[in-house]
Point group: C2
Chain length 705, copies 2
């Protein structure tokens, strides 16, 4: 710790926002003067000479301090933006991405008010943002918080990502309101499988899209590694306990090194949990040694699975431990897709390193032979492998206006909550300031992504949304109205059919009602396709307004960039000024089944739930273990409001079957499985990577879309 | 492509090295004048105005061009270095690492002659270096090339990494010779298992060591992902072929999209391989369709394995595909540790993106039911997932002199060649210049790592070594002389025993002889431990010199940093001036068994080899498939010159058993398995991660060593 430096101004109290001071800085009042107390080691402080109060500082020090403070003050961003001249027909996403040089990330960071030592650049277009920012800006009021959700989609998706990107472009570049888009990092499984990239599209995308769709800074890989370290530790421990005596185990777990024998922090924590308050390894009784060394994990009760970030269907059900070295400990297991890992869900829900560490240690990985939950805490410190990942990534710029985007975490949207990260949203809300906007996206239809956003993410973060943007397409509404199913490679129906559209709006109406259950104003965004007619769009907007939406507007961001979303931006700005009566749908103290029933009935429109015996037994078990007060994270198909993907529109008169119930204790939710949910997608006969190639001369990747 | 710019000097021919010009630049002679023809889009060109010859350019343009050229000229580095004041006793590695602020990577890059757009910074202490450098400096003569190898080690290792680091520190900071250390990126498996970190140690380490030992820029993760994408593609293809007709497969593999049907580049390559020169999907005959759509992979002939970067013993032998969705296609498989992937071996051996791409497509992943090799080319373009990884990482600084290190790739040292990357070595050899030194390390003892360095790596790269540094410790020599086995947690024997040392020097003598087989001068470096006596060290040095070493010196880098290696640096500089008669040990045209026998007899000292039937059958098969001319990569224990880890010293009179033979066709070698080789380490009862923890306030990681 270096000497603190006090800078006093002789010009009376300075007009500054305390929130802009860095962590550790203290504002002091010396008589009629104000001063700033900070630590000199910080590189962003103005250059100044150390001195001791009450001796006044030299005038030049005072002047440079004042100048520095003025520079730090919050103000509307002055983003250097480029003019957009969209081409018609719209070129491919990758052509659009490559036609634009991304803004240097240091410049973008400076423009949005980040200090140089708050970012860690990764290449020229990406930077991790340090969490110390939250502390520096803690007095800064949050901006407006906008959630982008959607109607029940077709398998192709209805464009929530492009609306998120387009809306942020319009707000920042056209309405000159500070705004951030917060996106999830896409899993490489679907990118290389059937879905393709997830960087938005057309003139509303994140660039450079190759990097967005490939490794970025390797967060998902680090999560994979952390997850699999826990898995390896579990099985190795089962083997070691099965083949060693208490004494041998204790000797190896607490070895004598250079004549010294002591407990590691993980072990001290375990002793505390067991109620043993000894610190001297030699002092434990044989019974204490036994309870200390034996986690006594029941191999059939291990719930922690290994993960890969590849669609690898052959790992859905496997038998592990078949080598002779594993001495007959073979057991059935499975791999999930990496983003389904609880480590990912925690990264997306945590609000800082301390909380993250606690959540990791709470993760339940299985149960002992006596039925007690076994936690990750007893095995391994996962956070070491993930810690660098806790910093959200200020990726790059929305084309072409050079506006900022955070990309951070990307939890699975059915067995997890499928929302972008709390940390990214919080950082963005501070950076945009009170008049600014943060646009964040929830996966799947509003019945799933939005419900989880409110009941899980907002409950955890304490953040309150101001507006919901509900994305709809004429294509999906026609399907809900009874039109043909939409599949990959099928083209939009080029004929006008107002009746189909009107009938399909039942789904839109229902999703608006769901948002209203939570007391948040809704703006409907119709993502316009080339084949849509004006009459169809007008019809959707009219029905939306009649159904209680604050407004409903057509969006042309894909073909026009931010300019195509200006009307939506205006509608969102207006809706954000409406009174907001946000409320949760259920109380955490309600019994688990009651919470599930509330979601099923009020959100999905089911008559009731039908809980299987297996599910009921698990629920009883969770209640017993003290996990009954967690929120619910439904694992349900996104292709219907019901549990059956083929039931379009607004299904009624059905019982929602709860096949099984599981828990992510570290992430902090119970997840009921509705119907069959695959946690490992497969590869199609012709996967996306058939079209991907690398040009060794230009280093460019072809075939990403 | 922007307008080219011509800058003419009116001062006559400029004295510059053409190698310093960037790719695409052309030097032209305009009458009695010289000029530079380049592309203006490059940011590193001097600012200049476009004009057309023969109009002469303005004087200021000429001046700035001349200045720029002078600046680009190669010269001895002027590294800003800090003074080292080593503490005694030597603090822990992590304390030493943290007590030093790493030099800003941009500064280090500039100091060693890198241009701003040749690096891509990752945070403040790491940067990827672009391969375009090789082209820019192609006319620059290479520096001297020094390999650090070792005697047959104890399980604790004898300090090759610290010698590599210490030697480069001494050369650069004390002898003022430009020099680079090239290290392998450590696998996280061992780091979290039993071995701990691999950043060197004491006052000869790479900082920041936390990053070095954890993700760095995620290269190993990307390799894991690429490897596993190939695996998923193989099994999915087997399933799809088993469950679909030719017509259905063809329809899905070459679908009609928006009315168009065409082959992807992967498919076009496959058609070429099949001798079908049609480009119109509709034109194929049913027979051609059948041969096109059916790779006809034999599930029992799949040799490609999945990998994880975790010591996960339960994945050594597994059964995959047991879910009902895989329709009875279950088969036995295994996971290897990530660094054992052929993708990693290729990354370490390739000399550029084009070569890497070709090697990836040559990788043999299994065989068809008719016995033909199936290559990765038919399945997936791996390079997309790895391409960003091809850039070596200029990591950070050697403590405390701030000298440069490349860290790139880290292939397994038994089933692969265990050497740092060709690309990193090549970049470093150009950067240090003719008088400079590049110090690179080979894994395991010299009988394995050095032999593979010469016969595989140098053969591939075309590079020729100038000096071998052979690292020995008194501890290991005592073991070879018949002293007690060395194990983890065992302390050095604190008594002097000259007889044990003298006897153990048999191993040292043999390893010197092995190096001499290749015609390269050897300098022996005795890595001194606190417990070694002067008499012991002198004895080792004397025996080494008597055995034909150019020199033998004691090294104190661990406790003194670069200063402790100055004598070694002088000896290396002197040896590098000796005449060098480098030769390979065997000719590639020799039969596979002959090549194996040559290594067994000349290097290991075996009487002969004993090839199992299984191995012989594989060899016959490889010969038939045209792979007989590849070099040999022996997979043998590193703990003995023989195949039995307990045979210390110089075993004689044994037959080397060749249990099995496999091939990495993309990497370009055949690897015989000698005895049992695990490709997946296990976790001990108390793994390293028991002592690792993250402090959420300081963000520091405890317990790495």
């Amino acid at each position: 710790q270096q000497t603190d430096v006090v800078v006093l101004t002789s010009e009376g109290p300075l007009e500054f926002l305390p929130g802009w001071l860095r962590p550790g800085a203290v504002v002091i009042d010396c008589g009629q003067h104000w001063g700033i107390l900070g630590n000199r080691s910080s590189s962003s402080w103005p250059p100044c000479t150390p001195f001791h109060p009450p001796t006044p500082p030299p005038q030049n020090v005072v002047r440079s301090a004042c100048r520095w403070l003025r520079q730090q003050r919050y103000r509307p961003w002055r983003l250097r933006s480029l003019t957009l001249q969209p081409l018609s027909p719209v070129p491919s996403d990758i052509e659009i991405s490559r036609s634009q040089s991304p803004k240097a990330i240091e410049l973008l960071a400076r423009e949005v008010g980040l200090l140089p030592d708050e970012i860690e650049a990764h290449g020229k277009t990406k930077a991790k943002v340090r969490l110390s920012l939250l502390d520096r800006l803690k007095e800064q009021p949050d901006g407006k918080y906008v959630l982008v959700a959607g109607i029940t989609p077709t398998p192709l998706g209805e464009g929530k990502s492009t609306v998120t990107v387009g809306l942020a472009q319009a707000l920042t570049a056209h309405l000159k309101l500070n705004s951030f888009a917060c996106l999830r990092q896409p899993s490489q499984g679907p990118t290389f499988g059937v879905k393709g990239g997830a960087a938005g599209g057309g003139y509303a995308q994140v660039i450079p899209m190759e990097e967005f769709n490939l490794h970025l800074t390797g967060d998902i890989h680090a999560i994979t590694a952390a997850n699999n370290l826990v898995a390896a530790a579990i099985d190795a421990r089962v083997l070691h306990e099965a083949t060693q005596s208490d004494k041998a185990l204790y000797g190896r777990l607490v070895p004598t090194v250079n004549g010294l024998r002591k407990f590691s922090p993980i072990q001290t924590a375990r002793l505390r949990k067991l109620g043993i308050d000894k610190t001297e390894p030699g002092a434990l009784t044989p019974e204490e040694i036994r309870s200390f060394v034996r986690l006594d994990i029941d191999p059939s009760g291990i719930t922690w699975q290994r993960v890969v970030d590849t669609n690898d269907r052959f790992l859905r059900k496997i038998t592990i431990g078949q080598a002779s070295t594993e001495k007959g400990q073979a057991r059935q297991a499975q791999f999930d897709i990496a983003v389904a890992s609880e480590v990912m869900a925690i990264l997306a829900l945590t609000d800082g390193l301390r909380d993250m560490k606690e959540r990791f240690s709470r993760m339940v990985v299985g149960s002992s032979r006596t039925g007690r939950p076994v936690t990750a805490q007893d095995l391994v410190s996962v956070c070491v492998r993930v810690c660098a990942r806790a910093f959200p990534l200020l990726v790059s710029n929305l084309y072409p206006q050079g506006t900022p985007v955070f990309v951070h975490a990307g939890p699975f949207a059915n067995i997890a909550h499928g929302n972008s990260s709390v940390l990214a949203d919080k950082l963005a809300l501070k950076l945009v300031g009170e008049e600014g906007f943060v646009v964040t996206e929830a996966g799947f239809g509003a019945d799933i992504g939005m419900e989880k956003f409110f009941n899980i993410k907002c409950r955890t973060s304490g953040l309150r949304p101001n507006v919901v943007v509900l994305v709809a397409t004429v294509r999906a509404l026609k399907m809900h109205g009874g039109g043909p199913k939409v599949a990959f490679f099928s083209r939009c129906s080029p004929w006008q059919n107002l009746q189909l559209v009107a009938d399909g709006c039942s789904n839109l109406r229902k999703q608006i009602e769901i948002a209203q259950l939570f007391g948040v104003p809704v703006v409907v965004a119709v993502n316009v396709f080339r084949t849509d007619t004006e009459a169809e769009i007008d019809l959707v907007c009219r029905i939306a307004r009649d159904s209680g939406a604050s407004d409903a507007v057509a969006c042309y961001h894909w073909s026009r960039g931010g300019r195509g979303c200006v009307e939506l931006a205006r509608a969102v700005r207006k809706a954000a000024q409406q009174p907001n009566h946000f409320r949760f749908l259920y109380d955490l103290q309600m019994p688990i089944v009651e919470k599930i029933r509330t979601i099923a009935q009020k959100v999905y429109g089911a008559d009731d739930v039908e809980v299987s015996q297996e599910a009921q037994a698990k629920i009883d078990n969770y209640n017993e273990q003290g996990f009954g007060n967690l929120p619910i994270c439904m694992a349900k198909t996104h292709l219907s409001l019901s549990h059956l993907p083929d039931w379009k529109g607004v299904p009624t008169g059905f019982l929602l079957p709860i096949r099984d119930v599981r828990a992510s204790i570290g992430a902090g939710f119970i997840y009921p499985l509705v119907g069959t949910m695959s946690t490992m997608p497969g590869l199609p006969t012709r996967p996306c990577f058939y079209d991907m190639d690398l040009d060794p001369d230009t280093e460019q990747i072809a075939g990403l879309f």
